[in-house]
Amino acid sequence: MVGGFRWAAMFPDEVWEHVFSFLPADADRNAAALVCRAWYRIERRSRWRVFVGNCYAVEPAAAVRRFPEVRAAAIKGKPHFADFNLVPSDWGGGAEAWVEAMVEGWPHLEELRLKRMVVSDDCLELIARCFKNFKVLSLVSCEGFSTAGLAAIAANCRNLRELDLHENEVEDNCLHWMSHFPESFASLVTLNIACLEERLVGLLHRVPQLVDLGTGKFAAQHHPELFSKLESAIAGCKNLKSLSGFWEAGPTYLPAIYSVCEGLTSLNLSYATIQGPELIKLISWCKNLQRLWVMDLIEDDGLIAVAASCKLLQELRVFPSDPYGAAQPISLTEHGLVAISAGCPMLHSVLYFCRQMTNAALLTVAKNCPNFTCFRLCIMEPHTPDYITRQPLDAGFSAIVESCKHLRRLSLSGLLTDLVFKSIGASANCLEMLSVAFAGDGDAGLHYILSGCKNLRKLEIRDCPFGDKPLLDNAAKLETMRSLWMSSCSVTLGACRQLARKMPLLNVEVINERKRGLPLELQPDNCPVEKLYIYRTVAGPRSDTPSCVWILR
C-alpha cells in the first residue's frame, strides 16, 4: 500500500466526487471528510445539500464557507415545543443572518426549506431577487412575513417548482399576491398554501400539472359556487397525488372529487369537520393512499373501514376535534388503533390523539407492527392509566420499544412510572427523538434515558419530576445530542451553571419569563428553572437573546 494517504491522488478529484455522490447520508459524507485532507477538500466542494437541524449550532458564514457549492439548504430554528406555545414569542430563530450569508455565498441556491423560523418580508424579497435559479421554497411553522413578501416570490421566481407554506402565521396584507405568478406556470408542481384564504380556481387552470395541492380555508356554505368551480379545476389536475385543505364541504360536494381519489397517495383532512360516514365514503375511494391525516370524527368504525380499503397505508395521523373535552364524547378509542395496526401491513408512522388506552391494545399494536419508525400517542388527559386494569401504561409502551427495533421517534402519554424509561433506555437503540409529558416518578426516569438510548438526538420533556442529578451525571451525553428541552420540571439554576461550566460546547439557555430582564448574576443557585433549552454548538453563545433568556457559560 502506498505510504500515508497519497493513494487519494491516484484518481482525479472528479472520480472521488462521483464516489461520494453515492453516499446516502450526510453522516457518511462527514465520515469521509475526516479520512484525509484531500478527501475533506474534495467532499466539501462537492456537497450540494446541507441540513442544519439547529440554526444556532453553527455560524451561517462558517457553513457557507465550508460548502461553497450548495444548491439545497434546510434549516430549523425554534425548539419543537414552540408549536405548543411553550417558547416565548421573542426567543429567536430569525432567518436574516442565514439568508444574508446564503445570498453572499450561495448565489446558485435552488432550494430553501425553513422550519420554525422568523422570516421577514425583507428576507423573502432578498431570496426573490438574489437567487436566479430558485426552484423550491418551503416555509413550515414560520412567522414574521406577509403576503407582500410572497408576492415578491411569485413575481420574481419564474422557475418555481414547489411552494409549500403550511402551518405558518402570515399577515394577509396583499390580497391578490397569487396573481403575480406567471401566466403560464408550467414549472409549478407543488402548491401548499394551507394557511391562507385564497381563490385558487384561476391558478389551478394554469397549473394542470400540479402533483401536490393544499388549499386555504374553504367554507362551502359561504362559497358554494366557488367550491364547485374549485372541484372541477381540481379534477383537471390529472397528476394530483396529494391533497390537503380546510374542507368544510357538506356531503353534496364531496362526490365531485371522487374522480381524483384513486390517484391520491396523500390526503390531509386534519382541518375537515366531515363526519364519520362521509369520511368513510371518501376514503374508500382512495385505494392507493399512503398517508392519511384525519380528525377523530372518523371514529373507530371509520378506522376499521380504512384498515379494510387502504392496504398501502404507511402513515396515519388522527387529530382531536374537541381537545378540551367539552362536547359529546367521540367514539375513537384504542380499538381504532388496533384495527389499523392489524389491517395495514405497511404502516410505520402513527400520531394518535385519544382519551383511553390499554396495555393490552398497545401490546397488540406492538406485535402487529414491528416496523414502526414513529409512534406518537397522545392520551389527552394527563396521568390516564389503563382504563380497564387501572395500571400505568408502562407495559404497553415497553412492548412498543422492545418490538419496534427501528423506532426513531416516540411520544409518550398516560400514567407512566420510571419503569417505562428503564425499558426505553435499554431497548430503544434507534430512537432519535423522544417527547415526554406528565410522566415518571423522579430522577431515575431521566437517568435511564440519558444513560441509554445511544442514538438519541432530541429530547423534550415537560411537567415531569426530573431534577438536577440526572443532568449533571449525564452531562457528556448532552454533547452527543442536538438538543434537550425541559420545562416545568425540577431543575435549579445552580445545576445549569455547573453544567455550563463543565461543557463548553453546549449553550445552556435558561428561560424564565417571570424574571424577564432581571440580572442573572443576582439569582441564587436554588432558583427554580421554568424552562431549559440545551444544545450543542460550535458557534458559542448567540447574540440575539431576548430579556427572558439567560445563556450560561
Binding site: 408549536d83 405548543f84 406555545n85 411553550l86 411553522s141 402551518e167 402565521e169 394557511c195 380546510f246 386534519s270 382541518y271 369537520t273 387529530f319 382531536p320 376535534s321 374537541d322 381537545p323 378540551y324 373535552g325 367539552a326 390523539f353 397522545c378 389527552m380 394527563p382 396521568h383 392509566p385 387501572r390 395500571q391 400505568p392 400514567l415 412510572t417 420510571d418 419503569l419 409529558a437 416518578d441 423522579g442 430522577d443 431515575a444 437517568h447 411537567d463 415531569c464 419530576p465 431534577g467 420545562s487 416545568s488 420540571c489 425540577s490 419569563e513 417571570r514 424577564r516 427554580p528 421554568e530
Partner: protein, 176 residues
C-alpha cells in the same frame, strides 16, 4: 405549576414498593393535589406577579393537549360558528342588588368578555396579576363553577371556562 420539588423522589431501586398498585395512585393523587394547590395559591397571591402576562396568555398557560396553533384556532372558530345556541349567565356587581345577564357564547375570549363587562358596569376590571396597587374603584372578575366554588376568571382555557362557569360576580379588588 413548575415547581415539583414537593413530589416524592424515588430511588433507582424501586422494587421494594412497586409503584403499580396503591403507591402509584397516591403519587397520582399527590401530583393532582399539587397542581390544584398551586393554582389556588397562585390566585391568592395576586400581587406577587406570578404570571405577569395578559389574560390571553393565561388562557393558553397549560398548552395541553399538544396541538398546533392553526388547529387550535380553527377548532375555536368552529365552536363559535356552530353555535346558534346562546349561553346566558347572571352577572352581579358587589353592592348592586340588581344583576344583569350576559351571553358568554357571543364572546371569543376573556378580553372580549372583560371589555363588555367594563361597558355594562362602567368600572375598570383589572387583570389580577398586575403588581400595581389597584385603584380604589377597580374590581376583579370572579365566577362560580359547577362545584360551587368561587374562582378568579382567566386561569383556565376559555373553552374549559365555558363548560364550568355558572355565574359571574364582579367584586372589589381589595377583597381578593
Amino acid at each position: 405549576m413548575g415547581d415539583q420539588s414537593n413530589s416524592p423522589s424515588s430511588s433507582i431501586d424501586s422494587s421494594s414498593s412497586h409503584p403499580a398498585l396503591c403507591s402509584t395512585s397516591s403519587i397520582f393523587q399527590t401530583r393532582r393535589d399539587l397542581l390544584s394547590t398551586d393554582l389556588k395559591l397562585g390566585l391568592g397571591l395576586s400581587t406577587s406577579a406570578l404570571h405577569g402576562c395578559s389574560s390571553k396568555e393565561r388562557e393558553q398557560l397549560s398548552h395541553w393537549p399538544p396541538i398546533k396553533p392553526l388547529l387550535r384556532s380553527t377548532l375555536e372558530e368552529k365552536v363559535h360558528r356552530s353555535h346558534s345556541k346562546t349561553f346566558f349567565v347572571k352577572v352581579y356587581m358587589e353592592g348592586l342588588p340588581i344583576g344583569r345577564k350576559l351571553d358568554l357564547f357571543s364572546h371569543s375570549g376573556y378580553d372580549s368578555l372583560t371589555r363588555t363587562l367594563r361597558r355594562m358596569f362602567r368600572t375598570t376590571i383589572i387583570c389580577p396579576d398586575t403588581s400595581r396597587v389597584p385603584p380604589e374603584k377597580a374590581h376583579v372578575l370572579t365566577y362560580e363553577d359547577k362545584e360551587g366554588d368561587w374562582m378568579m376568571v382567566g386561569d383556565v382555557p376559555w373553552e374549559l371556562f365555558l363548560r364550568t362557569v355558572k355565574r359571574l360576580k364582579i367584586t372589589r379588588a381589595d377583597k381578593c
